[in-house]
């Protein structure tokens, strides 16, 4: 018998840590100015001076990826924050008190989650118009139902536990029970859904910007927007699209591994060798 280390969480944190490190660095220092054009070195292949090459305007791709990843993470962070805060409050109230309101809200929730969120985002954006702030608000609102659903089911499970009943008998207020007693006990579930939320937010932002309804061309670079702009130059300079695309993939991979690792229950399992022999 042995205990396997939680590789998913370790690698997830490493990847996410490295990307966030690069992004924070990008706020203070990038190898070149991300938006300065230089016609002399346009469409350069990756070389020692430009690690990821340059684009059709002679801008350094590495600098732009660092800036773009920052924009993408920024949008993801704010959207997830909106979704997590309101989702936890709604899910907590409905799960803890139950009743008719719970039923109604959960039916609405079901209707929402049955629908692909990118489609809903497109519907709303077709009415409100695009732009970075709209993307943040729309994604944030769209994330509320999924957070509320997860948190609600956890609160509903915890509310009949002895420690909650004990606190109620001692006259602790409902608000204090919900946020001081129950919330810490469901932290791993909440953290896991936050990681999944980041995963979805990065993907949604990239998709929307790629479709041309997310971050606008005049705003700071974002990874999806870079992918859209670089597709026309696929024949002459594929490194533009590849570096933007792989940056999105790496960010998503990091968050996916973290969410997987947080859902991991350390189990004791028999050595695989012995297991194979028994079943042969």
């Amino acid at each position: 018998m042995r205990r396997t280390p939680n590789f998913n969480l370790i690698f997830g944190c490493m990847i996410t840590g490295l990307t966030i490190g690069a992004i924070v660095l990008g706020y203070f220092w990038t190898p070149y100015e991300p938006n300065v054009m230089s016609m002399a070195d346009k469409n350069l292949a990756p070389c020692a001076a430009h690690w990821l090459g340059t684009d059709n305007f002679g801008r350094d791709v590495l600098s732009r990826v660092m800036e773009g990843a920052g924009t993408t993470l920024n949008i993801a962070f704010l959207a997830v924050a909106i979704g997590a805060i309101f989702g936890t409050i709604i899910g907590g109230l409905t799960g803890y008190f139950g009743g008719t309101l719970d039923e109604i809200l959960m039916r609405i929730n079901d209707a929402f989650t049955a629908f692909p969120s990118i489609l809903l985002a497109l519907v709303i954006i077709s009415i409100t118009g695009s732009g970075k702030n709209n993307v943040i608000i729309i994604l944030g609102i769209l994330f509320i139902p999924s957070f509320a659903r997860v948190i609600r089911s956890e609160f509903a499970k915890q509310r009949n536990r002895d420690y909650v009943k004990n606190a109620q008998l001692m006259g602790v207020s409902h608000r204090r029970i919900m946020f001081v007693h129950i919330l810490p006990n469901i932290m791993n579930v909440l953290l896991s859904s936050i990681a999944i939320g980041f995963n979805n937010a990065v993907l949604a932002e990239a998709s929307m910007s790629y479709l041309g309804v997310g971050v606008g061309p005049t705003e700071r670079a974002s990874l999806g927007r870079m992918l859209l702009d670089s597709q026309a130059y696929m024949t002459t300079s594929p490194w533009m699209a590849l570096s933007a695309g792989f940056s999105i993939s790496i960010m998503i991979l990091g968050f996916a591994l973290i969410s997987e690792g947080l859902g991991y229950r350390p189990t004791w399992r028999p050595r695989p060798k012995r297991r194979r022999k028994a079943n042969a």
Partner: protein, 313 residues
Amino acid sequence: MHYVVKRICIFILTLLVISMLVFLAFQIISGDPTTNMLGTHSTPERVEALREELGLNDPVILRYFRWLGDFITGDFGTSFSYNMPVSELIAGKIGVSAALTVISFLMVLIISFPIATLLARYAHTFFDRFCMLINQLIMSMPPFFIGIIFTYVFGLILNLFTVGKFIPYSENPAGFFGFLLFPALAIALPKSAMVIKLLRGGMVREMSEDYVRTAYSRGNSRWQVLRSHVMRNTIIPVITFLAVTLVDIIAGSIIIEQVFTIPGIGRLLMACIIKRDFPVVQTIIMIIATVVITVNNIADISYKYIDPRIRFR
């Protein structure tokens, strides 16, 4: 039977609610269509005349039912930007998107089931670990990025298809399906990675159950047990997930059509969102919503027939 009738009632009710929301969003909130239609020729008298002609001065309830009646009979209104009936605009494009979705869904099934069974058979070996690692990597790649890689590798380097040169079905059916092959694969790959993960995990968990040991003791081979005992018990959560996957594929095809420049409804939708051509957008959204709700309901009803243990009220 009672259950099916109940589900169909809920289905119709959901559609009505969705249609109300769409009506509210596009007919009320989006503002006055007359400013869009008249453009620079707008005068107060003309606007008033047009409003009367379009029936915009009637009560909202009346407008809703008129709109719904028109919609059901196939009159979707007229597009602002193309100046032609929406039904004509959509007619040729729905088939393309439907073909893309169906091919992609079939690919998910064809790819994921054999691979998941294979990985469950060799669970916890080096082969399994390696494949699951690759699986995780594919899962994190957005479908549109896989599409871009495909256009580069298969379209520009290997010249297996001409990028952006769509072949209509009426001209060359084989060419049409050949062209859709790569876009469909780009949508299918990340989705099948998710199905593989779910199916393999479920099968590995089932394999430690008692009935599996009994099946072995009766002299079944590993493959027989996996195929006829374990697979059956794993399939139920997977069917829910397949319904979700189908819905995701429909949404994903909107983006992939953009990557491969396929003239389907997704491309039309994006063009019309950017031009703010609401009659087209609302029709496409209504059609997709109907499909999504139908898929979810079919999945719900099908559980009962797949697993007789599930009892419904």
